[in-house]
Symmetry: C2
Subunit: 482 residues, 2 copies
């Protein structure tokens, strides 16, 4: 235990040393650290010795070395939009946040090479817009894209709505620049599409949530911009039909389907609670809804493809009702239901958010079983299941009654999570499909981690970060090699 006075003295010393090593311009302390030490949902507020804001890769290297020299550890942070506390310090007196927000330069967009090189701190939507101005497309698309930063996307191997066609972030990455725990720079920003020179080291940093190093820049694949997009909202008689429809669409629409999201009937209610004047696109009520998008460029007539596909499946009864957006504005409105549903949930107060994946063929069964288990255990809570059918990824959220006392709400959230995870384990599913582990899911991850994996992860971590400088407490708790 350190007395308060000792702690304060040490804090002053740390601040002085960091400013000395890096210059005052790079170092935030005091009240200014607060916004870097609150998570996206506002559930957790913590602190840090300082926040360092490097302007270059060399600054990042110097920052890591300065922290290591002081015996401080490092929590790398991008847009701070993560959902699992991967970038939220949990040991304020001994952790320093390194924010990449000032390293936001797009170093190169090369349309002829179908590639770009971008720094970790660039906001995803700004990068997507810049790429679009060159007639190209960077497929990563997720709710937080106006705030999240590309380095965080890489470090969490972000998913989103276009995964079924373009893959996770991992599949979009051609190369990485990483500052390693010892402050050396891994310089791997090649844009080669194929490179089988030995073990592909960049893979270990993708999805590592900053536990093995700090991603400072990324080279990525680009595709031609899809100048035709067809969006449809469909009413179905059962979630099983959504799975069957996906399989059918996967075949009939070749590889041109770019999104296939399912939503429950409650989606419209929740969306209206958030956006009251949102027009209702389908008249009837259906047990399941699908938001489907086909897109492409060039000589394929995407709208015609959507019309012929829906014509066939509606005639067969696989789809009960549907509407195809006739304009970009209408397509935007259809997506607003999907997004408004999330806002509506937030308005109902604290609730359980999950991020589950199961084998695609078992998605409907899992949702049925898990919702039934929650209903039996917590009859006063409301289930909201939605997600990405093509990826077997469901966000089964559970909303407790909002008029309960905070501790009762917390108890229901905890109980709901346990009930859902118990069902999930029988499906051999994942407790984190796309959000990562961070600190929030560490106990559930840790409890399910097979010994062989733990041994490999420990070997990997201690080989690359023997003094445990990088993001301790994230993903797993390791013990320092003595």
């Amino acid at each position: 235990m350190v007395s308060g006075q000792d702690g304060a003295a040490r804090q002053v010393q740390y601040e002085e040393r960091l400013v000395q090593a890096l210059g005052a311009d790079l170092v935030l302390v005091g009240d200014e650290v607060a916004r870097y030490c609150r998570d996206w949902h506002g559930d957790v507020t913590t602190g840090a010795v300082a926040v360092l804001r490097p302007r270059s890769t060399e600054d990042v290297a110097a920052a890591v070395k300065a922290c290591a020299a002081l015996g401080l550890s490092v929590v790398p942070q991008g847009g701070n939009t993560g959902l699992v506390l991967g970038a939220t310090p949990d040991d304020p007196a001994r952790q320093v946040v390194i924010s990449l927000e000032r390293m936001a330069r797009i170093r190169r967009i090369d349309a002829d090479d179908f590639s770009a090189v971008v720094e970790a701190g660039c906001i995803l939507s700004e990068f997507k817009d810049a790429v679009a101005r060159e007639g190209m497309f960077f497929p990563l698309a997720l709710g937080a894209q106006g705030s999240c930063r590309i380095g965080g996307n890489v470090s969490t191997n972000a998913g989103g709505i276009n995964v079924l066609r373009y893959g996770m972030t991992r599949e979009l990455v051609l190369g990485l620049e990483v500052v390693l725990p010892d402050g050396t720079i891994f310089d791997g920003l090649s844009t080669l599409r194929k490179d089988n020179r030995g073990i592909d080291l960049k893979q270990i940093f993708i999805g590592a949530e900053g536990t093995l190093g700090i991603v400072t820049a990324v080279s990525v694949k680009l595709t031609p911009e899809p100048d035709q997009v067809a969006t449809a909202l469909l009413g179905l008689n059962a979630l099983d039909d959504a799975i069957a429809l996906f399989r059918r669409a996967r075949r009939d629409c070749c590889d041109l389907m770019s999104a296939f999201e399912f939503m429950p009937p409650l989606a419209f209610v929740l969306a209206h609670e958030a956006i009251p004047d949102l027009p209702m696109p389908i008249s009837g009520d259906y047990p399941a809804y699908v938001l489907m998008e086909i897109s492409g460029s060039g000589l394929v007539d995407i709208n015609d493809l959507m019309e012929r596909f829906l014509g066939a499946v509606m005639e067969e009864g696989l789809v009960a009702d549907g509407v195809i957006a006739s304009s970009k504005a209408q397509a935007r409105n259809l997506w607003l239901f999907r997004e408004g549903m999330n806002e509506g949930q937030a308005k109902r107060g604290p609730h359980l958010r999950t991020d589950i994946s199961v084998p695609l063929s078992r998605l409907a069964d899992f949702v049925r079983d898990a919702e039934a288990a929650v209903a039996a255990a917590l009859p006063d809570c409301v289930n909201v299941s939605y997600g990405h059918v093509g990826d077997g990824n469901v966000h089964l959220n559970v909303l407790p009654p909002s008029d309960l006392a905070p501790e009762e709400i917390a108890a229901r959230i905890y109980k709901a999570k346990s009930v859902i995870n118990a069902v999930l384990d029988t499906y051999h599913g994942s407790i984190s499909a796309e959000h990562g582990i961070g600190r929030l899911k560490r106990p559930d991850y840790d409890a399910r981690l097979p010994e062989v994996r733990r041994k490999l992860l420990t070997a990997l971590k201690t080989a690359i970060d023997p003094t445990l400088v990088m993001n301790p407490g994230c993903q797993l708790n390791f013990e320092r090699n003595s």
Copy 2:
């Protein structure tokens, strides 16, 4: 040094111990090891203490443990079709080949889940055929597919002709089962499409060429079988036009292009030398040829797409002449030029084979520069450049006059390689786009390896295989931790 007599006695002892530990059924010795100790091209013949042929994952684990207990190291082998000596022992008195050929079972094909689980020893074409019988498609396609085995494809991160649409083997893998250097089993055969539970350990084994463990089974993504395929052979006025055409096709044909190969005029000459009665599909002579394939399933009319695309680019003069295959047999014949060209090269005797990648936008420049450099340095040799435009991957092969003495041929091959690599280095390209490093390319890889990477690779190797049991001499030479 061991005397011959000591060596023979030790060999007998090893054989006895391996049979004792594993049973005679699993152990081949004497003359029977020969076919496992010759490389695919027949350039290298070596030997091994024994060849072990496990029938199960547990057998593989027992085999690894038995070898380690005897102080022997292990060279894992699939179909032995590799081109870089990754599966060819180089220390016959201390290495054991573990062949996966008996682990050839397809454990599951689940069309509803778009996935399959297959053992490492399954021959690629047999797996593709089995998948096709379920109406599905496994996209990996390469010349050796009738002999190579899926575990080798994973361990070398195999490429091939469909990479531009479906990615390298890495992008097709959902999960792995691996026997680790200590004989424990990494059990990761999930078929989840999305799984962000911590660092993705399977990635380190893909492309590791058996240096970190032995892949014993794989779960992979399947896609619907493309029941429409349009194949065209095109004559172009320059290789630059091939690059421009690719960019155009990438946009106009959405993501439906599945192959885009370029070939030199000499391709037809070489193919005819191998297959004399092959019909000539295009009448004129052109400086560059492209073999292009578009494919898909369902509602998109693929032939119509190809016709409209070629109509436009021929009118614009980007393509000088072209033929679209009107039947499967005709499409097969067009591909025979591509394959016959390789056979024709083999018939001309020993020659340099390269496997180079450069940024896509610089492919034509590189071929021009590298061919000019070879022509200047070796005026009596013939250049043959062909490859995968969409991946920036060129096989620039150099054929010495076949009537030279063997040592003069070897000298020209060595010289050609040096000349090409010197040009390649100025392009920041890769000496191994898709074949791997193995033992053949180790010196060239080693000479170009940045210190930061070497340190990371050493840390990784010694963390996972501290006693250097797994495939020593492949990729890099490591020194045992003392």
